[in-house]
Amino acid sequence: MLTFTIRRLFMAIPTLLFISLIIFLILDLAPSDPTASLPLTIPPEVRAEIRASLGLDEPIHIRFALWLQQFFVNEPLNLIEQWTGLTIGDGDRTRVISWQTRSPVVDIIAQRMPQTLWVVGTAYVVGILIALPIGIYSAYRQYSIFDQAGTFITMVGFSVPPFFSGVLVIVIFAVQLGWFPSVYDTTHVVVDWDSFVVQLKQMILPVMVLALQITSQISRFMRASMLDNLNQDYVRTARAKGLTESVVVMVHVLRNSMIPVVTVIALGVPQVFGGAIITEQVFKVNGLGHLLIGAIQGGDIPTVQTLTFIFAVLIVLFNLIADVLYGILDPRIRYD
């Protein structure tokens, strides 16, 4: 398993380099201009100067090499310096600079990460916690009223987009009832019980909207996987052994059903980091999704490039984690 993991990690390096090149080329080919969002009152000469000051007049291979150097050499060195307080070399390196904000992209990402992890991460955990029991019970009582209702709700969760459900819950719970805020305050700091309640209140609506989607997805997986296993002969064996029904379902069936579900959950984790573009927008949780969409609209190529590349790394990494988990959970699979 260890050699497998290490081998896979090494194989990921050329993959990721290739991905970064593809992202760079696509972004370069895309018709976007960092000065496009400026008011038309700014004259073209000034725009040309702005573009030149962003380094856009350099040829493409130079820009790509520069990004590679900034991202893979300068940023890590800078991180090490920050952690250790040491100065490596002359300490004067250009970092990946966002065109919109003219500040280091990595710092902005670090600033956005907490919101995204709090809201999207909580939603993911909540969604999974709700989804698993629903999936298990739906499968165990297939075609029961509970199962039919669950199927209906998950269908709704799948098909209703967050820009609708988000606005709907805002209108109900924020406008009509006034229970929760409609705008997420990213500057809020939890220091005591009261501020924790405030944080909880502002998280409820976005978490609810996101968790509905996640629940829908994972409970369907759980249900399907449980159904696959419930009809297996070994379940009959377990019953023939005279085990209690709860042991049969929760130990024999569940443990086998969790194998595909756990990998699906692991593969979904990069999406947590990617944020939830629409939900973040609706509730103004200015996390990574909001950062990405803003950067795309503003033609901020370094930010888009860095963010998408980090997502690519996470996806590759969590694919590997899913594979390893599969190996751990399923004794039939061995990587040697």
């Binding site: 018709p31 976007s32 201009d33 000065t35 496009a36 969002s37 400026l38 008011p39 038309l40 009152t41 700014i42 004259p43 073209p44 000469e45 000034v46 725009r47 040309a48 100067e49 702005i50 573009r51 030149a52 000051s53 962003l54 250009t94 600079i97 966002s98 919109q100 904000t101 003219r102 500040s103 280091p104 710092d107 902005i108 600033q111 956005r112 606005v167 805002i170 924020a174 406008v175 006034g178 805020p181 409609s182 705008v183 305050d185 990213t186 500057t187 973040e280 927008q281 609706v282 509730f283 103004k284 949780v285 200015n286 909001h290 950062l291 803003g294 609209q297 503003g298 033609g299």
Partner: protein, 569 residues
């Protein structure tokens, strides 16, 4: 003062300034502002976006700002320099500003004339990519006469000298803070760009790019009673509808900016009685440009250029006139703009001094008249396909604009009206970042104009239209030799017009400048190469508990935030 006197005409539309609350500094707690497009930096010289300029206007100030009526109000300066008071040289080649006495930066150090000189150097540095460089156009030098006196020298006589250091777009920055940030180093000064030291009523407490800014009251602000608010939270994110909702329905925010949403929805929200929608009209006009050059794809690279030749029919003003007459501008306002729009027949609708009344006939739709006009000119449908022909060419146009719901509604309506006068329009919309992107390699930019008709909004900053009207000189026509740069989008060219532009650049008296601008406007209108549609204003909303808002489209909407206060209920 003449300028002030002349601009009073616009004042009628607005309520007079409310009585300022007699409050202590910081006594009114927190002010919540939502800008659904969040500011990405607080240095307006590095980003020309409205959101950056307006958020920075809480901190950074300039010598003078424009109030809601377009009048100049001294901010950092003691008064407004004019020829009469000797502040502007007789030959119009310099303007001398005097800073207020005892003016302090928020860090407690005094503001000096050197800061203004530095600001000029900062923005005109060739490697800096300064977004507001046009404010320093024609400035030959800026010199500090003494600690409080700054003289701006112009290379040529400047009849309207209130550009550099006037308005929120060219504020004065602190030399000490930005000393190491000149030119290519500008983007690396993140700390300074995110937390500039200014003289405004607020100081940056925390800046999160594209997310939220928190400000606290500036304890060194020149008026000891202001600002009334101790803190400002300046939140970004979401969309216009949700921003409107947070002010007008949930009351979570006190002020929301740029609420270009369905006018009926906005009116419904306002009916809750929590907040008020406010508008301010500047110079933005949604207009149609009629290509005077031939955009026929068969011409290849020569299309829409002088080489490609004139347009087969749009150069005939009769056709343009008929197209204009067929449009019901009031309906377009009702459907798409609500309080944020007014029908207009001028490309230069404001300030009042410059607004012509010669073209107001277009305000009422007249399809029968348009048909009659075309029939009279012999432009008839000779082959019975419902489309008129002009000298054998059927009147079929490609009509493009940026992708935007209101614009697509407008397109559809206009297409229908044109069909009623025998002109067939093919509609097209292009993503805004491409359309306005200016990429010389893209065929879809508004500058390339590979279409017969295109629609968008343009305006000019400040109150003086001289530079704006100069947009339509012959040598401003975009083309391959200028990398498609140039602002004469419809490719209008008239020697007579160019002569008026030159005349205006040498004329100082305001009445005379007004006459010239109106004349140029009318000349453009009667060429029917531009068909103005809607005079667009900014639409914002504030909570009813927020007092002192005097929205201006001539400057930052938040230009007088120091005077805002909480109305006790």
């Amino acid at each position: 003062m003449k300028l002030r006197h002349l601009m009073l005409g616009a004042a009628a539309a607005f309520a007079l300034a409310p009585v300022a609350a007699m409050a202590e500094r910081g006594s009114d707690g927190q002010l919540n502002i939502i800008y659904w497009q969040a500011p990405s930096t607080l240095n307006p010289y590095l980003s020309g976006g409205t959101k950056e300029v307006e958020s920075a206007s809480l901190v950074l100030e300039s010598m003078a700002r424009f109030d809601s009526d377009g009048n100049l109000v001294p901010f950092m300066a003691e008064d407004i320099p004019t020829v009469e008071n000797g502040g502007v040289a007789e030959d119009l080649t310099s303007i001398t500003w005097t800073l207020r006495e005892g003016l302090l930066w928020s860090d407690g150090t005094p503001v000096t004339a050197n800061d203004a000189v530095f600001t000029w150097e900062y923005c005109t540095h060739p490697e800096g990519g300064c977004a507001q460089a046009s404010y320093f156009d024609g400035v030959e030098s800026v010199e500090a006469l003494d600690d409080r006196t700054v003289r701006v020298n112009f290379a040529a006589p400047k009849p309207f000298p209130y550009t550099a250091f006037v308005g929120s777009e060219s504020p004065i920055i602190q030399a000490a803070q930005f000393a190491d940030c000149l030119g290519a180093a500008a983007p690396e000064c993140t700390e300074a760009n995110f937390g500039p030291i200014g003289t405004g009523p607020f100081v940056v407490e925390e800046f999160r790019p594209n997310d939220v800014i928190t400000f606290v009251a500036n304890e060194h602000y020149r008026n000891p009673d202001q600002p009334a608010f101790a803190r400002v939270v300046f939140k970004g994110g979401g969309d216009a509808a949700s921003a409107a909702r947070s002010v007008l329905e949930t009351g979570e925010f006190d002020y929301a900016w740029n609420l270009q949403i369905d006018p009926t929805l906005l009116a419904e929200m306002e009916a809750n009685g929590i907040g008020t929608v406010v508008t301010a009209f500047g110079t933005s006009v949604e207009r149609l440009h009629l290509n005077q050059f031939n955009p026929d794809p068969a011409l290849g690279d020569a299309r829409s250029t002088a080489e490609g030749g004139p347009h087969p029919f749009l150069t005939n003003p009769v056709i343009g006139q008929a197209m204009s007459m067929a449009i019901d501008r009031a309906l377009l306002v009702e459907i798409g703009y609500g309080a944020g729009g007014q029908p207009t027949c001028n490309v230069l609708p404001a300030p009042a001094l410059y607004a012509s009344t010669a073209n107001d006939g277009c305000l009422t739709q007249d399809i029968a008249g348009a048909n009659a006009l075309l029939d009279e000119a012999g432009i008839v449908d000779s082959d019975g396909d419902g489309v008129r022909e002009y000298e054998g060419t059927p009147l079929r146009v490609l009509y493009q604009t940026s992708t935007n719901a209101v614009r697509q509604d407008t397109q559809a309506l206009i297409k229908q009206w044109w069909a009623e006068i025998g002109i067939d329009a093919e509609l097209r919309n292009i993503d805004a970042s491409v359309f306005f992107g200016g990429d010389p390699a893209s065929p879809d930019t508004f500058q390339k104009f590979y279409a017969d008709v295109e629609m968008y909004t343009n305006n000019f900053a400040g109150v003086d239209p001289e530079a704006y009207m100069a947009n339509w000189r012959c040598n401003e026509i975009p083309g391959p030799d200028t990398q498609w740069q140039g602002s004469n989008i419809q490719r209008f060219c008239s020697e007579e017009y160019d002569a008026l532009v030159t005349e205006m650049s040498q004329t100082a008296p305001l009445e005379e400048r007004g006459r010239l601008a109106r004349e140029m406007n009318d000349m453009l209108m009667q060429s029917y190469s531009i068909i103005p549609l809607i005079h667009r204003g900014g639409v914002s909303a504030h909570a009813n508990s927020l007092g002192g808002v005097r929205m201006s489209d001539w400057d930052s909407e938040l230009w007088n935030i120091a005077e805002w206060y909480r109305i006790d209920e």
